[in-house]
Amino acid sequence: MLRRFFPILAGLLVATAANAADVSLLNVSYDPTRELYADFNKSFAAAYQKDSGNTVTIKQSHGGSGAQARSVIDGLQADVVTLALAYDIDAIANKGLLAKDWQKRLPQNSSPYTSTIVFLVRKGNPKGIKDWDDLLKSGVSVITPNPKTSGGARWNYLAAWGYALKKSGSAEVARDFVGKLYKQVPVLDTGARGSTVTFVERGVGDVLLAWENEAYLAVKEFGADKFEIVAPSVSILAEPPVAVVDTVVDKKGTRATAEAYLKYLYSKDGQEIAARNFYRPRDPEIAKKHEGAFAKVDLFTIDDVFGGWTKAQTEHFADGGVFDKIYKN
């Protein structure tokens, strides 16, 4: 039986291979991009098939940004990584999986979309939270994940620090401010999505420090009758970066597709999808179109205030850094 069918089967396989290649990509990402990439992958697959005739299947993997980077280092075969912060991709680059200058390969620091940190409060804003200073008022309970395990949490922390620094001009004051802020935090979840669940579903806390897109998603999902978004006067420009993992795409022969995938993030369609998922688009035209959707916030970059990720990481989040000292007392 098998012998009779074998030539037919082999013929079929050769025929499909000759017609169109089916490429498979793995995108290793962080927690709050689930919805964004579910949307984006569909659009990319359609566009890619039209352009090249090849079909592409994209698998998504989500988790805490640092943990995801670690999986890639340990051998998870990611064609592309789309993580919460450059530091995590740097860690992969340091192990030789991609070129160290990866961040220069795509426009705008390899960050096709940006976000910022905003506050999510309960309907009617019962504690009257308008800006960062209000978070220190007594009786206000703040929800944010653990910066040690969550990339998003590091943005939260740095946003608070940057605000206090800008306002006072003194690192001393900023440190004191952040120290007091974490005294108001009753629970440190390990990831951004975990904190959202704690705040939204368990009803813990008065304010959630969240990615802007995560806050919009929560409002969309649970209704504007339950939550409100409060944009602080000053916040950080969060630039989640993307990169192709050289060693993996060269081994699998998927470089062309992987590069096309990331470039598509910068296309009009890609930018539109990012905006629809509440990420701030880079493309000026698309940004203009969605201007009304995002609050006007005075945004500073990590390079301006902290001298880049590596420096911020060693000073604040490494063992014995400022964050550890906050919890020593």
């Binding site: 653990n146 040690k148 395990t149 009753p186 629970v187 979840d189 813990v204 550890d324």
Partner: protein, 278 residues
């Protein structure tokens, strides 16, 4: 070792022993050796400062201390549950018997999420408790509860068969000889159950020490307050500090091994004693 020298009653000792050693090495010893190899990247001074850092010590204290307390609670509660299930007939007994296994079968993360939802300050149990001024979720008390939850079946399932097999004639004999009900329990029943109770205790304790999924959601994870040692290992890993992570793991491993070893010795002693008195 006279047993080996004598003619064995069952054949195949060489083969089974070979398989045992191979399997244990592949599945347990080699992975654990890897842990030590990775840790050996640290100098002894580095290792020592990692494992004696106040935060590490606190996390170890939380993990081992609360696991021990939870195992103690499970020892008593488990015994009561087994007693009721084995010695009495009541409606729904089989259902209760099945419920005991749920913590075994449930994915630990599900247990953690369920417990946290229940005990969060707006949860069904959390709200009334909060009104009394008791905070459970996001405190060490929450960790303690989660550890009780995942540990209870170990005590029940190790003691149950022993209690079922316990010869009722012994109790009858004790009563005939004039022992009171309490004397029968203290001097006849409990000694026979002690080895099984200790095994259950050791298993419940070991499980709680290493528990991550069910604890992580309810713990609150505040450093020096409610941070468990397994979370600290995960944190070290997220800092890409593998050797520091394995250093904490090695300490946990050694402690657990010592405790289980001691419990085993006690169990052995109890067994020989109960055999001697019987």
């Amino acid at each position: 070792m006279t047993a080996v020298a004598q003619r064995r009653s069952l054949p195949g000792f060489g083969l089974t022993m070979g398989l045992t050693i191979t399997w244990l090495s592949l599945m347990i010893l080699i992975p654990l050796a890897g842990l030590f190899v990775k840790t050996a990247e640290l100098s002894f001074a580095e290792f020592w400062s990692t494992v004696t850092a106040p935060r590490t010590l606190h996390a170890l204290k939380i993990s081992f201390g609360l696991a021990f307390a939870a195992a103690c609670v499970n020892l008593v509660a488990g015994l009561v549950i087994v007693w009721a299930l084995v010695r009495y007939r009541f409606p729904g007994r089989r259902i209760f018997d099945a419920i005991v296994d749920i913590p075994f079968a449930l994915p630990t993360a599900v247990a953690g999420i369920a417990l946290t939802t229940l005990f969060a300050q707006k949860g069904w149990l959390g709200a009334p408790l909060a009104a009394l001024g008791i905070k459970v979720a996001f405190t060490p008390l929450g960790i303690f509860l989660a550890m009780i939850f995942i540990g209870i079946p170990f005590v029940v399932r190790t003691v149950q068969p022993v209690l079922l097999d316990l010869d009722t004639e012994l109790e009858e004999a004790a009563e005939c000889l004039g022992a009171s009900r309490w004397q029968t329990i203290w001097r006849v029943i409990l000694p026979s159950l002690t080895p099984a109770l200790l095994t259950g205790f050791a298993l419940a304790f070991a499980r709680a020490v290493g528990e991550y999924g069910s604890v992580i959601f309810i713990a609150g994870n505040l450093p020096n307050v409610s941070e468990i040692a397994p979370l600290l290992i995960v944190i070290r890993l997220s800092e890409f500090r593998y050797a520091d992570a394995t250093a904490i793991a090695v300490v946990m491993l050694i402690f657990s091994f010592l405790i289980i070893f001691v419990l085993n010795r006690i169990q052995h002693w109890a067994q020989s004693r109960s055999l001697a008195t019987a």
